[in-house]
Symmetry: C2
Subunit: 284 residues, 2 copies
């Protein structure tokens, strides 16, 4: 397991959404560089706002790695046209991620389309969507990171809720291990998974852990989406999970992604980053 | 699959918590009888308030079955004394359930004790707790129904989050199939489980489905605990899951359990029950 306590921030990446209410992408790039953070995870909206080429240039000039590009997928749709549109959009996201030099593109499965109660059908569409974009991702050299989200988002955001589902999908779509497809592991989504240890090891053995995200689970959690906690403020045993992930071979960036409408989004991002750096060294 | 559309309410049971803000237990017993509902699921607090013997007498006089008694378990504790207290309390709950003539006692795993980040340890305590009370449950002829709760409650309410965990625990503690131990399946907690079909069949094959609960998952869900929906108002394919459960051999009561601070708890319980009866016939 890597030593974080006494070193620099060479394994730390900041997901833009952590400071989204105060900083645009240009400010976030500058902030990461100013604090000595090594990576950034931009979202598509602020990239488009700044301009794709400009965003890539600024990230490179700041010497930042891109731990992941957020986000695409969201395939399930009410009709074939909707699914095709999601596939086309994900192909564009692959191109954007390549331009930015991202280490992976984060793929969410998507939820059920409005009015649907067919979760199994949604999962089939998610599989079909990933299958449809995988060749383009390989052409562009852009790995797709399937991110299982917490089961509380299964209905409306991501029908892929467990690491086992994501691993199964990787096996199904990449049976020969050609690559270009893997998983993103976020402690918030997986800490409660009774199959976690086995499935992390399984993903690692296949060389498929493409990203590792941290934040914390607060008790009580006041909002299903926007009440994530700062590392150390909740109940997740983050070092244990990081240990599993690193024992499985992951040596990439540790990305901090905190959606916190009631707390961290209201604070000065420079303060937020100082706390992140302190917690990164002490409780991650 | 049983026909519900044109019959009476002979398979319907009402969990007291559905009307808890307006009716005490005596009123709920009268209400169930008045509306032709066949069963009731009382909680311990209102039973204690009415008096155990009196509650049992009124339920019997009303001709109601008791689909389950809520609830006990909640074993994980900060120390041995806490675990012993939870075990003792669960033994008392077994006695109470027997006095009420309940068809099962609902057992929750419990969450991590305050300050703990040891979810694996909590699961071990839950296992030890169930093991400790199982002989007494068998002596009293009171089946224990392990109810896996949605993973969003794993930290603070129930470390048993999946039907697979509950089935595994049954296999571990009752390897010879002596009985007295099974599962409660609530659509709210399990609808999103990718292993649902297999694990329902597994529980049924072992004769371990002791209870079936319905409500609905709302999109959006505004509160992690108290925003359950009325059947038909959300995204759960309830008939599909009831089909799985009944195909697995379950022929017991269908219990409605809705925690709804923002909606149903505010309404006249007679109206709530009329809607339940209508939805029971049309969307369950």
């Amino acid at each position: 397991m890597r030593e974080l306590a006494n070193g620099g921030l060479e394994h730390l990446s900041l997901n833009w959404a952590t400071v989204r209410e105060k900083w645009d992408l240009a400010e976030t790039i500058e902030g990461c560089a100013r604090h000595g953070i090594s990576g950034i995870a931009p979202w598509r909206e602020p990239v488009h706002a700044l301009g794709l080429e400009e965003a890539g240039r600024r990230i490179r000039d700041a010497g930042l790695r891109v731990s992941g590009y957020c986000r695409a997928g969201l395939f399930p749709a009410a009709d074939e046209a909707g699914l095709r549109a999601a596939i086309d959009d994900t192909r564009r996201a692959i191109d954007e991620a390549a331009t930015l030099g991202a280490e992976c593109l984060v793929i969410l499965g998507g939820g059920m389309p409005p009015g649907s109660r067919d979760l199994i059908g949604a999962r089939e569409q998610a599989r079909d969507g990933v299958a449809a974009v995988l060749p383009h991702a390989r052409d562009r050299g852009m790995p797709l990171a399937l991110e299982p989200l917490h089961p509380m988002y299964a209905a409306d955001r991501c029908c892929i809720s467990t690491l086992r589902q994501a691993n199964d999908l990787c096996d199904e779509l990449d049976p020969a291990g050609e690559g270009g497809l893997g998983v993103a592991i976020d402690v918030y989504h997986v800490f409660r998974d009774p199959e976690l240890d086995r499935e992390v090891a399984r993903a690692g053995a296949a060389g498929r852990i493409l990203a590792f995200h941290v934040c914390d689970w607060l008790v009580p959690t006041r909002d299903l989406l926007l009440d994530r906690g700062m590392m150390g403020d909740g109940v997740i045993d983050i070092p244990r999970i990081r240990g599993l992930v690193e024992a499985a071979g992951y040596d990439g960036l540790i990305e901090v992604e905190i959606f916190s409408r009631l707390d961290w989004w209201r604070r000065d991002p420079d303060e937020v980053i100082r706390v992140i750096a302190e917690r990164y060294r002490s409780v991650v």
